[in-house]
């Protein structure tokens, strides 16, 4: 994936997921997943617990191989590519893991610096400057020499965001961004996501079941269902809230207040 000649206009497909099926042996976790994420879009993968949201994210990030199906980044088939090509694709992807996943044996500065050391030829001073800038961007200026174990959960998450943004990625993945954050920090994170999209045209993929944040930031979404093991709805979450006829989707988006049929196992 190189940028040469690629127009960076919005609404061009950035990531395409085609017919993805995931299985452990004979046990199908999910099947027939199809969607397209456009450039500069905030895309939400939602669904109840255990519906395979995180698994889908792992497939998209190359951590788990799909049983069948394709993941295309800018039209490039990720799972059929060689390892160097995959690494090249992943170089443009930043990931915020659920609990931060900072490397615990390294300081915050080293954590943020590692991607830069790996992929750029910048000098140490340059790297140090970028690291301080990224850390101050998430409100952690002055915490360079702290170890993750010395920080609170929210701070770890913010530092992890700084690391995810280290290489100014084109795509940012967020795994349950608001998990473990207080309402205000969660709101600030939402604002930051919107800000990143506006200023850097970053494509954002959010895996979440946090309603408020889904409705606040999502441009487009899919809804995964644990019972049928596939996606049962897609579209803008706010439109979905107004128009969806699917009882499961309605129940989810209204916290079970509306559209919740008496038989939870039933689908349209």
């Amino acid at each position: 994936m190189t940028e040469q000649g690629k127009p960076t206009i919005r609404d061009a497909a950035h990531i395409t997921v085609r017919d993805v099926t995931m299985a452990y042996g004979n046990y199908v976790v999910m099947k027939d997943i199809n969607f397209t994420i456009n450039r500069g879009e905030i895309f939400v993968v939602m669904g109840g617990s255990g519906c395979g949201k995180s698994t889908l994210m792992k497939i998209m990030l190359g951590l788990k191989s799909p049983e069948k199906g394709q993941i295309l980044y800018n039209g490039l088939n990720f799972w059929e590519a060689d390892e160097p090509v995959r690494n090249e694709i992943l170089k443009h992807v930043g990931i915020l893991y659920q609990r931060g996943a900072l490397w615990s044996s390294m300081t915050l500065a080293e954590n943020v610096a590692l991607p830069l050391e790996e992929y750029t030829d910048m000098s140490r001073t340059q790297i140090r400057e970028i690291v301080s800038f990224k850390l101050s961007l998430v409100g952690l200026a002055g915490f360079e020499s702290f170890y993750p174990s010395e920080l609170s959960g929210g701070m770890i998450k913010r530092a992890a965001l700084a690391r995810a943004m280290a290489l100014d990625p084109e795509i940012l993945f967020f795994d349950e961004p608001s998990a473990g954050l207080d309402p205000i920090s969660a709101r600030l994170l939402d604002d930051l996501i919107l800000e990143l999209r506006e200023s850097l045209q970053t494509t954002v993929v959010v895996v979440s079941h946090e309603l408020e944040s889904i409705l606040a930031i999502g441009d487009n979404s899919i809804f995964l269902d644990a019972d049928t093991r596939t996606m049962i709805a897609s579209g803008n979450p706010r439109t979905m809230l107004k128009e969806s006829r699917n009882p499961k989707v309605c129940a989810f988006l209204t916290r079970g207040k509306a559209g919740c049929s008496d038989t939870p196992g039933e689908t349209l």
Partner: protein
């Protein structure tokens, strides 16, 4: 007498009546709380089931005092048992709270039943499954060794990516910091070997040969073996726990998605650090063990220092030491591999870190002893 007591006891909580031929009325009364001697559901069910014509159970809870989940578990058990026998349980007479909780719990139970399809198969199927599992994990181990080898080749070619500061830290952890425990154990092993040997040798008046026994035993066998077992328990377990925790925290995923091979970044520095440090520790252990033996020989059995020294020098040669040192390098690879393998293949929960550490230590020690056996055969066959 006891049965009588039981009956009286259970009457404090419930009474059974038969308003019609096919119906049982269960009058619940008193306080149903944890810690009280409540009637067992099975006994009550048996009392009901004696009468074959009973088709329905109804409840009356007007005298029921306060209750907690003990009442619910009792009722769930009754409902399950009656369900098997085709007896209908009318929940209408129960307090509304109980009814609601019951329907919640029963729904969850049914769902669980849906999800749980794993019944233990027949004996042969289970043997087959175990065999498949063993082959799979063996294949996994070999794949891991293969990956480690390619990572090592990349390292030699200077293309592997890892932080040398990490390796220095690991060297510090598995080298100098292990000295105290290695000293203690080796000195004691030297003392023990000396005691066991000298008592036998004394029968022939050949106490002086204890220097040979201790020297050769330490240099060829005990030094390498004892450091290996100490390092497995100390460092191998630490590797498994460190990498396991990293796996649980998704730190290893974070490395992979950055395009950094955990094999190069995490496993290589650990293997190299241990391979560098173990032979040194082994040599140190040999010397401390020989000194330990000397203390016994000289202090308790009237051998002179010069006698013991000369005898030791006479008995030992470079071959003895090098056998021990080569062994310890091999043990180092085994320790690092099993520690890292189980760490990286750790599950995703906190308890799986414990499991990973246990498996690493057990496998490691087995591998060490097996390898030591193979060495014994080889050295014997080669007359060295």
């Amino acid at each position: 007498m006891i049965i009588q007591d039981d009956k009286e006891q259970s009457q404090r909580f419930m009474r059974l009546e038969r308003p019609s031929d096919d119906t049982v009325l269960m009058r619940l009364c008193g306080t149903w709380k944890i810690g009280q001697n409540l009637p067992s559901a099975l006994d009550v069910y048996e009392q009901i089931a004696i009468h074959t014509r009973i088709k329905t159970i109804i409840f009356d809870s007007t005298d029921l005092g306060s209750w907690d989940s003990t009442l619910l578990t009792f009722l769930i058990r009754i409902i399950e048992l009656c369900g098997e026998k085709g007896i209908t349980v009318e929940r209408g007479g129960l307090p509304t709270g109980v009814q609601k909780l019951l329907s919640l719990a029963m729904e969850a139970l049914e769902k669980k039943a849906l999800h749980k399809e794993e019944t233990p198969g027949p004996f042969l199927a289970r043997i087959g499954e175990i065999t498949l599992n063993i082959t799979q994990s063996a294949a996994g181990m070999f794949a891991f060794i293969g990956e480690a080898t390619t990572a090592f080749i990349r390292l030699i070619m200077g293309r592997a990516r890892f932080r040398s500061s990490d390796m220095v830290l690991t060297i510090q952890e598995c080298g100098p910091q292990a000295l105290p425990i290695v000293s203690l154990i080796s000195a004691l092993v030297g003392v023990i070997v000396a005691f066991v040997g000298i008592i036998q040798l004394r029968l022939f008046g050949a106490e002086i040969y204890i220097a040979n026994v201790v020297g050769i035993a330490m240099a060829r066998e005990m030094g390498a073996l004892m450091t290996a077992i100490i390092m497995m328990g100390r460092t191998g377990a630490a590797f498994a726990a460190q990498l396991g925790t990293m796996e649980v925290n998704e730190e290893i995923d974070a490395l992979k998605t950055l395009g950094i091979s955990p094999m190069e970044f995490l496993v290589m520095p650990r293997i190299i650090a241990l391979v560098l440090m173990m032979p040194l520790l082994c040599l140190y252990s040999d010397i401390v063990g020989i000194l330990g033996g000397a203390v016994i020989g000289i202090g308790m059995f009237d051998l002179s220092i010069t006698q013991y020294y000369d005898q030791t020098l006479h008995a030992l040669n470079l071959t003895h030491f090098s056998i021990g040192i080569i062994k310890s390098a091999v043990f180092a690879v085994l320790i690092a591999l099993s520690g890292c393998y189980y760490g990286i293949h750790c599950g995703r929960s906190a308890s799986s870190v414990g499991d990973a550490t246990t498996s690493a230590v057990v496998t490691g020690i087995v591998l060490i002893v097996v390898a030591d056996g193979i060495f014994a055969i080889i050295t014997n066959a080669l007359w060295i």
